[in-house]
Symmetry: C2
């Protein structure tokens, strides 16, 4: 592997920026461990923690390694490899080569103890216990997922302040992720034919990502039952009248996420009912996207999308009454229970390992009301932020068959009309794009992915 | 989901058989937790522990669930789902439905504490700390990966006694895994063309597996550098003179592993050097396979393969001297450092979570000598065992460039000859098949995967 000299690279600049915020406060950040699947040597594909990927990049972020800032400079502490490791894993850059390429000192793990001794060191708890346990051993205190000391909080806030506003290198990576995601969705549209299974469409989509030597940023959703929000099943046959909902995103070489959802008709042409519902979601998404610009509060975009959906649902006869009132009363949440989007970056829900600290501005917190409690982002937008816009309409059996539904909504939901859409295969439709907030508005990073009815139908023809 | 009534199914019979071995000794076996990738909600695809898959099957083996044998009967303790879970994950069978389908009592997790109280309960430590920590809490003792109490050991031995000899249902699953694995290898052969990257071949192979709604049983190796035994890189371009080594296996619907390796020339035709080396590996594999029958000690098959490779390496001029002597002196290990195979079952290295207990018969243990220390199986074969046979020849730079090589091998390795094979793109060749030991010999489960030079070349034409 050739490592470019990166002392003046984006990673080096990020390390300097974090150091400037930390001052003399030391910090230890773990790359993380490979997670066992069924036994220790059979692991899921290793992916370093987003924080270490952010500071050092994927080439350097080795499993079981640590980045340490001692209050003055950054260093890497990496496991020493024994000769048999080369047999199984092949040659890797030496510590000297990594030091040369990063401009940071590189030490064996056994030297970390001495570096930490007597210091009050901040850390970021890893999402997995293996890594937390290692951190606990090194730091002599109980480090646990989602538990932060005051020093940890300060480190988390410093990371958030940086990672919230993407630099040029980050934007390039997000573009690479969006490009591969585009290819995946086009392949899925082309591969769709009645009689195949959902898994065949998923295979066509993921093959585009794997062929680029990339991975998915999250578990793919490719389903004829989009009303199950995190549907992990892919066994169903594709019926002539079904629609597919595909929420599939590629991760760039550096670890940055794409996150795009499209819905398309198995038959290759939208039926009237399918198109009507799709256009309502699309119109709400367009309005929400138009609102994305610096200074706008994200929660207001969520509410805007909800009101647009309310209007569309009334137009379709699914809701009865005044759209504004229906929205204010939370009736829309029966069809649109989730948030309109979230931060996007090295994580598909960026920095969700830090809880709501990244998504929610200081002083703001989750509203437990239906339709609000799954909103993952409530900040005032600023240039450099990346986020998704993803409204949806879902006919959820557990909601629509709830005996208390009429009482709760004042009988304003037309269940028979909902059943007609379900019969037309339009069980759940979401349209999701990835956006970058720019100085004077926004850019849709995933703009190439076919979205209009005409574009989707054309893409399905190949 | 429709759950068949399974009270008289293979799973029920396995539970009865394990209960018979346990007698009145209670046992708690965890299905395991979903492993976080970058934050808690972004997990790797969940796969239940092989022990629970064995006893209850994939439809019932829920994340965070437990199977408990109280010394008389089996019961399941499963997390209770709140209404919002249905929103995200869709409808699941009720406890009553699972009880009906399994013939076992089904309880919420909160009732497990009472069931365990005052009992000395055996368990099997999970490979991940999250699950071990949960087990520790339930059992009031420190359960850790790879740490076994006397009661745990007895439970492990009882599981091994069962899982070592595959029942008909297990064999059916192994056949399904082999079929999908066959499709993957054929797709990889067809997709190979100079100028593509390794990742394109991998994509073609994994797409066959994903399209069948299956997953890979382990991280795929698809590489032009087969001399790196666990090569996880797929970025290299395919040169005209390269060979691909593909070690890719599908996991069946019930969680059973396929594990097949083939090597093929990027050009579509084996060059003379490529064919010569390939035929040596193939001849050694044939001899080893022929030896597989009840009563044979697996270590002897490993030694047989090593001797066959020694003879072939001498014929090719890579080794100088008497093949038997070269083998006895461990010189062959420079080209064939790993074991000739391992157990196969619900894990690709079956039951490796139990250490060498499954692979090594009582009283036998690893031999630390080169060429022996990676041998994962040393049992006398018996009907119903499944295993792999996978000799290989590798030109490993770290080995061949070692200044001590000549001294260690008495100058009996011809480095220039080795360099010629490397230049011909034959850097590492392994041929691996999955076998079932039968009453009077063996069956090659993966026999359909093209293997002879002629069959591979034909498969590459599509």
């Amino acid at each position: 592997m050739t490592l470019a000299n990166t002392t003046s690279t984006p990673h080096a600049r990020r390390r300097s920026a974090l150091a400037a915020r930390l001052g003399t406060q030391p910090a230890l950040i773990a790359a993380g461990a490979a997670r066992p699947r069924n036994y220790t040597a059979n692991t899921y594909p290793f992916r370093a923690s987003s924080h270490v990927l952010y500071l050092f990049g994927a080439d350097v972020a080795e499993r079981d390694g640590f980045a340490f800032y001692d209050g003055a400079a950054w260093a890497l502490y990496l496991p020493r490899r024994d000769p048999d490791d080369a047999l199984w894993e092949g040659p890797r850059p030496s510590f000297a080569e990594i030091a040369e390429s990063t401009g940071c000192a590189v030490h064996g793990l056994s030297e970390l103890d001495r570096a930490l001794r007597g210091r009050d060191v901040a850390t970021l708890p890893a999402p997995d216990l293996e890594t937390c346990e290692t951190l606990s051993r090194w730091l002599g205190r109980d480090v646990r997922p989602r538990r932060f000391t005051a020093a940890d909080e300060a480190l988390a806030e410093a990371m958030i302040a940086l990672r919230l506003h993407h630099d040029d290198a980050a934007v390039s990576e997000l573009r690479l992720a969006a490009m591969a995601t585009d290819a995946a969705h086009r392949a899925g549209m082309r591969a769709t034919r009645p009689g195949l299974r959902e898994s065949s469409v998923r295979a066509a989509m993921e093959a585009e990502i794997i062929a680029r030597d990339l991975t998915v940023a999250y578990g793919s959703i490719v389903t004829t039952h989009g009303e199950v929000l995190h549907n992990e099943q892919h066994h169903r046959p594709l019926g002539e009248r079904d629609m597919i909902l595909a929420d599939v995103g590629a991760e760039s070489p550096g670890g940055w996420a794409g996150d795009v959802t499209r819905a398309w008709p198995v038959a290759g042409r939208f039926s009237t009912a399918q198109r009507e519902l799709y256009e309502v979601v699309l119109a709400a998404q367009r309005q929400a996207i138009e609102a994305v610009r610096p200074g706008v509060r994200y929660r207001d975009i969520h509410l805007l999308a909800g009101r647009a959906l309310a209007t569309g649902l009334c137009d379709l006869g699914l809701l009865r009454g005044d759209p504004a009132e229906l929205h204010a009363d939370g009736v829309v949440a029966s069809f649109f229970p989730h948030g309109v989007g979230h931060l996007l970056g090295l994580d598909v829900h960026d920095m969700e390992d830090l809880g709501d600290r990244a998504g929610y501005a200081p002083g703001r917190s989750r509203d437990p009301a239906p339709g609000m409690r799954y909103l993952r982002l409530d900040r005032d937008l600023a240039p450099g932020m990346a986020l998704t816009i993803e409204p949806g309409i879902y006919f959820i059996p557990a909601v629509l068959e709830d005996p208390a539904l009429d009482a709760r909504t004042g009988g304003r939901i037309d269940r028979a009309r909902a059943a007609a859409f379900v019969a037309a295969g339009a069980r759940g439709i979401r349209v999701e794009d990835d956006l970058l907030v720019t100085a004077d508005g926004h850019e849709v990073l995933s703009a190439a992915v076919p979205k209009t009815v005409a574009a989707v139908e054309a893409a399905m023809q190949g």
